[in-house]
Symmetry: D2
Subunit: 466 residues, 4 copies
């Protein structure tokens, strides 16, 4: 791989220099006009002859840019590489005078921003796909301050949706004989349960009752898109420590009855919104079932990242359709540092907090009318069922902060996936185990509403929230 | 590969059947309504949960269709899966009342035919890409009789252009240790110089002074997209027989000075118009140059498929700006069967025919103002130079019929490619060796014009003509 | 592979030339003295520094040798590269004066021919293993005329036995996506049922109810050692044509109940006597059983190469313990050309010939007391059971000549393999189906004895005969 | 790999159990008689039918053995599985009555210990080669206390020499995209400069001016045999810290002039005495030269493990042909802890210690007449030249203890390798740079002699010492 790339590098170097002479460009002066000229050339017929070289030149310059120059570049894409308005006007006129498939097609074509073709041609460069993904990562950051960049982002997302179509992805197992440069990325990308180093990684990958799978794209050979970590167990776990602690007993895979998806992480910030996690889980379910016919249950052990914030608001609210005074008192124990280390305090809190959690999933809705919890939206949207609430499930500081240590299991049952998905997407119904439904306090009027702010997370199961 | 596919097959079978029950469909009744319902479902939110299974179901039905049903399907795509006109109208209004990037973006989106997303989702099916390519092959055939299907074809072409972006293609050498199932396809796809069987194939691939390269797509692992056959020689060849005859002497690759591209074939009829040949030649030039630093010349030995027809017309024309009476007399010898076997007849014809050929390339233009010969348009468009006219170069029946046995060499010189390309594409100038330019008879008024009908060829060097 | 080899080639070239200067050798004068000096040097301490280069030099010279020079070389190995007799004498003395493990060990070491270490060092050369295998092929041919070369052959065989230990072999499927250069060898090496070309090969490999497996050695990557062809069927076949005819119906592998090993061929004449076929069949049985749990029977369809000759002798014998006058009359029909095309003649012959065949397997023994038929010795020695006699089973000219068209099935039943093997090897008992045992005529005195000459065959199932 | 092994595992399980029934063995009673019976069976004809299963059974039992049982097993190999003395006697008689190649051959064969064939058949077991290598590791340890086991060890070594012939080894680069399970072994096997963990490993493998290469055997796919670490530099290094320190500057490989072999480690204790290091260095020299034509020098940076002990003895000796009183005084500074941290003390010691080192290499000889230093014997035996003495070169505790921090460079110059090797092996001459030869004090009588005890090291460059 590297040899090829570096050879092409040499070759393209030459072409790029010639290219620059042709364009009468100074050596890498990197000012906006130049860049616009280069992009125009790449879109011209000359771009057909020297596309690879020009594409590489542009991407290389871009990599050398500082934050300001990158912003300028993105605004240029917005303002100068949209569709040609004259052609759009003409196409509208033509459509109005004689509607029909042909006119619609011409209108669609006329309205296609020129930057779409530009991005396609930039992909000709060696390693172009990876660089374009990183380019969008920058764009997403810029978009927060300048939301009018949305059309540019939309064009990137449109093309990535096509290029990273699930039909082009390859599922690969990640294990202890995976190349180190990929494993290093697993350590870095893990977004749910932090991996403290190589020894910890080894404990998650090497034992025969642990599995990990990732999707790869043919153009990003050593960089995963999304991965999921799986534990093979004999029962549905109630907390993360029983899966991760060092001294746990290993079981034979053939003796396992349950596959637990305990961590799923997106790897490429630049691919935000291009959903893979859904396909990954279902594919892994199929592959594991085939390899280990003894597996009967496919469940997650999942965080509840929106819970603490929602509960705080609920507790602050003067009138809550949910909380009684007694509940409020018990939940007040959560404010005492170290409560999680005292068994009786935990026992005292439990009934109130699990009832609140049941409400949080089944009744509470955000300002947009959606289920509050992003991880819940992901799994329920995939057709999973909310199976069990575990308190406490994770005493790591982050989990305490976000969810008072609460974790839940979602159940993936192939035969019900479609029905569950329909219920959730079509009618907004949350499918949950009877035991959870019974936890919901007798109907009062819903007073509290919840909000959720997006954070910089890349957890794959939050994908559905964006 | 196969194991996976067949396993997925079993799995999807189950889902599909469940899918059909959900849709209350009879077992494969294959009528249009069903199909439309399935396609609508695939585009709906339910499609998100069961996309792979639905996609496979649709593609499988389609494969079972007869010609009439396939036509119905395509017309359905045209008529029912275009954009939603109400949304388009709204987007036009919005754009008119407040133009800008956002409105243009919304207009573009509204005008996107729903079949584009449908095709993207069909690609989720195992082997979906290959099946969609075959689907377009059918569509291209239908389009001849029903040209209003163009918008549907345009959507396929648009997506294929994105999916088969050169950035996603892999160059692989084809040789005698290539798997037989791929070699079998090389025999079948060869479109320029027929390969008569395995022994003949072996003579083209196994000797150390013969090379072959193909582009592959990651989703079509055992099916090449385009391939080129190369001979390593010590001089630019004047005819095909010196390259292909059985008793030729093999040379050591290190002793070769010249790489001859003597055959380039597109493999997938369904990818017509998605150009790879251009990239393939340039990449092979680079790779060979790197492997064999002794190589100084990169040339083709190419057919001239439009020549005989053009010449016939020229000879029929009462007034020709090209042909003198003497020329006409000499060219009349071409009408005698077997002229090519008589050395003196050939010698007599040669001056007139090579002068005519020079004119054909440099002066003659089609009704559309373009160079008449499709192969010439391909190589000149790539930035090659017309280097030499060889008469006779190929006495195979097809070559005699299409070009009176004439062949030409095009020269690929890396340093000139861009300039040549610009001259040809930008100003319509044909870059040719001085010796050829000198062959053009003193300027007379151009009287003859030429036409060219498209044939069912898949020769890659004709791609530029479409 | 090739790149490496050719690079090493260049490197070694240089060393070899320096080596020759050191040895003050003329350029490739190929006379015996030189060669002896080179071999001595390779065995000396200098050989440690330049072993690869010297080894290559020797093997290259050897390849350039004509038949006479090769014979000289082999005799040199016999006469000059045996053990050093003085050391042997000393070791015998030491052993006699003080026997024990140490003295035995020293004696063994002293008696080791120097050519064993020489062959080991020749193996250092690039591609050395392959060249040594070819060297032994020559040696085997020479040994027929000069049987005193046996000790040299024994040393080659000893080392090959170690190097080609089954623990080092890799089983690989051979199918239609196997590289063409390997398939070409399958065509060439097939020793049982001739493969007439690529189309015929395709029919044996491509259909889903056909399999082929080969053993490879890591040093002979593109050259199989032994391969077996398998048909998946629904019943035990009675003749070869039902397996090989062009218009047969293909069945789904999952529907197959029976795997038929219908051809097994050794590939490397130089590895004669190093047995792989035994391991190959058992491994393939295991692999197929695992892939296709529906398979219940593993049988061969085998030739009977010694039968016609044995029967001729029996018929010539004045007194036969086997044949009655009536039998003799019926068998005389075999002398009429074309008998196999007439159904009633065949029917008339059948009872006599199958009874004779039963006798041939169960009662007849060669001069050495062994079962006459080499293929029978191979399969019975592997622990298979003689299952059925088929007449006629193969009307190809060779099969008619060797066995009057008779074929048999041997049954491999994993649970009985060891018992059968013990019975055959330990007590000389042929395990056969009851129906065959019943065919043996009532006990008369065995009068006839059979002989068998070895031919130049490489059929793997004859291996046991040597 | 694993799938296959575990499948074979299941299969063999069955056979083994049947095997045990046949042998009427209790379940794993592991006493000596059983084991002897199993080994006899493996050598019998029954072993031909069930070799794989029996071999596996024996090796598995062996793995379950404790130290005492393993010793019993080895003594059994010595006492019961030698050659059959009757046959040896007969072969001696035959040889005496009629000497000649045939009789010598028969004698050699008769004297072959039965355990050689036993070991060959044990190699049939899945993973047999690896287990036999571990078996010899145990044997080597036992041999220290019971040197009469030497003949058994000699048989293992003989077979390993054949199986691990350089012709069967594969050179593979080790880098940051090597599978983690192999890298983990590199950390463990490193025997020269300790690797403190994954981050340190990364610094040795990932930078583009660092390389590592290992030999692998096809049967031990994920376990290297020997590896060498290489630094690409612009000059010959004088100390290890300039190569390993974290903050060093990386250079472009194309700018490097020198390849430094700074660590070479054997990995398999059970392969002691089977030499690979020699071949590895030469192969790596060739490969690097080919990849990086700018490399002009190939040198080591090597430890001097025998130096401190030898010097101590020299200093203790009343009369030294080497040390003057002034030298003794200066060298006494070495006895002060921390001397290496004081620049002026180091400067004061330097002249005396480098002169002593020059003497150590060029003049001092062990009781066996050989050069004292094992690492020196390895590189000089390979044909390298002693190029420079560096003081101090390594201040790690081990290096201070063994060599007072001294390191040396050996130079590998392809054109001189054979001459140097001849000089060293043939005439005992140490080839050294003139600057080192000049350091040797004017000739006095050699009084001191040195000894060296073998330690448990597996450094590959000590191999020559054994």
């Amino acid at each position: 791989m590297n040899a090829t790339v570096s050879f092409l590098g040499d070759m393209l170097q030459t072409i790029s220099e010639r290219g620059r002479r042709l364009l009468a460009l100074g050596p890498r002066d990197a000012d906006g006009d130049d860049m616009e000229a280069l992009c125009d050339t790449l879109l011209s017929s000359r771009g057909e002859a020297s596309g690879m070289a020009l594409a590489r030149d542009i991407l290389e310059r871009w990599q050398g840019y500082d934050a300001a120059a990158r912003r300028t570049f993105m605004r240029m894409l917005l303002e100068r590489f949209g569709p040609q308005t004259k052609l759009v006007e003409k196409a509208i006129e033509a459509y109005r005078s004689m509607p029909g498939p042909k006119a619609l097609h011409d209108l669609h074509k006329a309205a296609e921003p020129r930057r779409q073709e530009l991005i396609r041609r930039l992909n000709l460069a060696p390693d172009g796909t990876a660089m374009l993904v990183r380019m969008r990562e920058t764009l997403l950051a810029l978009k927060r301050a300048e939301p009018d960049l949305e059309p540019v982002d939309s064009d990137f997302a449109h093309l990535f949706g096509s290029w990273f179509n699930r039909g082009f992805l390859m599922l690969k197992p990640i294990n202890w004989s995976t190349p180190a440069d990929i494993l290093e990325k697993i350590i870095r990308y893990e977004a749910v349960h932090h991996i403290g180093g190589w020894d910890e990684l080894r404990r998650r990958l090497a034992p025969e009752d642990r599995r990990c799978f990732a999707f790869f794209h043919p153009q990003l050979v050593d960089d995963p898109l999304v991965f999921v970590e799986v534990a093979l167990t004999r029962e549905m776990p109630a907390g993360i420590s029983e899966l991760l602690r060092e001294d746990r007993a290993t079981i034979r895979p053939a003796a396992a009855t349950t596959a637990v998806f305990y961590s799923i992480s997106n790897c490429q910030a630049g691919l935000r919104g291009i959903s893979f996690g859904n396909f990954l889980i279902k594919q892994v379910v199929e592959d594991l079932r085939r390899e280990l016919p003894g597996l009967q249950n496919f469940v997650t052990l999942s965080p509840v990242p929106g819970f603490a914030e929602w509960l705080a608001e609920e507790r602050r609210a003067e009138a809550s359709s949910l909380l009684t005074e007694a509940d409020r008192d018990r939940l007040a124990l959560l404010d005492r540092p170290g409560w999680e280390t005292q068994a009786d305090t935990v026992a005292e809190i439990r009934p109130a907090i699990t009832a609140a959690a049941a409400w949080y999933f089944l009744k509470a809705r955000g300002g947009d009318g959606r289920v509050v919890d992003p991880v819940a939206r992901f799994h329920l949207g995939n057709g999973a069922r909310l199976e069990r609430i575990n308190f406490p499930g994770d005493n790591a500081p982050g989990a305490l902060r976000q969810a008072h240590g609460l974790m839940v299991n979602y159940l993936y049952k192939l035969d019900d996936i479609e029905t569950n998905h329909e219920a959730f997407i079509g009618r907004g119904e949350v499918v949950a185990a009877a035991a959870i439904r019974r936890l919901v306090p007798a109907e009062r009027a819903t007073a509290g509403a919840a909000r959720r702010e997006a954070a910089g997370k890349t957890r794959a199961d939050e994908e559905a929230s964006s």
